[in-house]
Amino acid sequence: MADWYAFWVTAPISVLSAVAMVLARNAVHAALLLVVNFFTLAVFFLILGSPFLFVVQIIVYAGAIMVLFLFVIMLLGVDQVIPLRDQMKAQPVAAVLLGAGLIAEIVLAVRISIGFSHKVLPDFRSVNAGGNVQALAKVLFNSYFFPFEVTSILLIVAAIGAMLHGRRKIGEEETIDVPEPAPIPAPAAEGTAR
């Protein structure tokens, strides 16, 4: 019963925030509406019995990823109004088609994986005995411990990249691209450019 209430309280907020996000004219407002949407998704994960995804959704998506989004928006400057409508005429059509395709695909993927008939679902309760997070941790730190350690290498490479390319000395900002001398067509080296 609690499931039912939690879902029907959150679901309208989720849909409304998603629609409002798409329609928002200000990019920052859109980003903030996306935060609301992420929170409702987190609640859905909780309802489905996955506290771990609930926490990840809030810590990583509503927290870190949104910070990145906002930084990028502010880097580009919010005040620049770009008339998108003129640039991409076919975009709304393409968006609708791709969206419909995605929905069809997700439905199919889920239906196929659990079977079109009502196949018995995997026994979640026995797997999650002692807590979903604990069950996940047991797998992560036993069978998947090597990939887990490899992840740290991936993260440190990303960190170095951010530092190497994000922070340049003033003197390095000038560019030294020298225009190539125009190709003189040697008899055997003819060809169109590029």
Binding site: L75, T151, L155, G166
Partner: protein, 122 residues
């Protein structure tokens, strides 16, 4: 899911509602009680007593992005720390060693950032 599952989260929800309520009450009370006589001076954005210049939506510098990015990286680390914290007692020294290696590698990244003066404000 069992009803008891929600009981622990009930506290969170209650706190959330309480927090929103507190802010709402405070703002409504201020609106009702405070006298309002607006002048151009008063409506100006407050910026440490200095007259604001230009728009609030100004373009920010790329170097702030590094902080955001480093935050994301260590945020992802915390995602791994969360299940680990739930289980390291049961798994014993093995889990401690695993996490120590992971944190050590990332700490090297932080040390590198510090030594390269990336963390210094310029």
């Amino acid at each position: 899911m069992a009803e008891s599952f929600y009981q622990s989260y009930g506290v969170v929800v209650a706190l959330l509602i309480g927090g929103f309520g507190l802010v709402a009450v405070a703002f409504t009370a201020a609106r009702l009680i405070a006298p309002r006589r607006q002048t151009a001076e008063k409506l100006m954005t407050y910026e440490c007593g200095i007259d604001p210049v230009g728009e609030g939506w100004s373009q920010s510098q790329i170097r702030y992005y590094i902080y955001a990015f480093l935050f994301v990286i260590f945020d992802v680390e915390s995602v791994f720390l969360f299940p680990w914290a739930n289980i390291f007692v049961r798994l014993g020294y093995q889990a401690v060693v695993e996490m120590a290696i992971f944190v050590f590698v990332l700490a090297l990244g932080l040390l590198y950032a510090y030594k390269k003066k990336v963390l210094q404000w310029v």
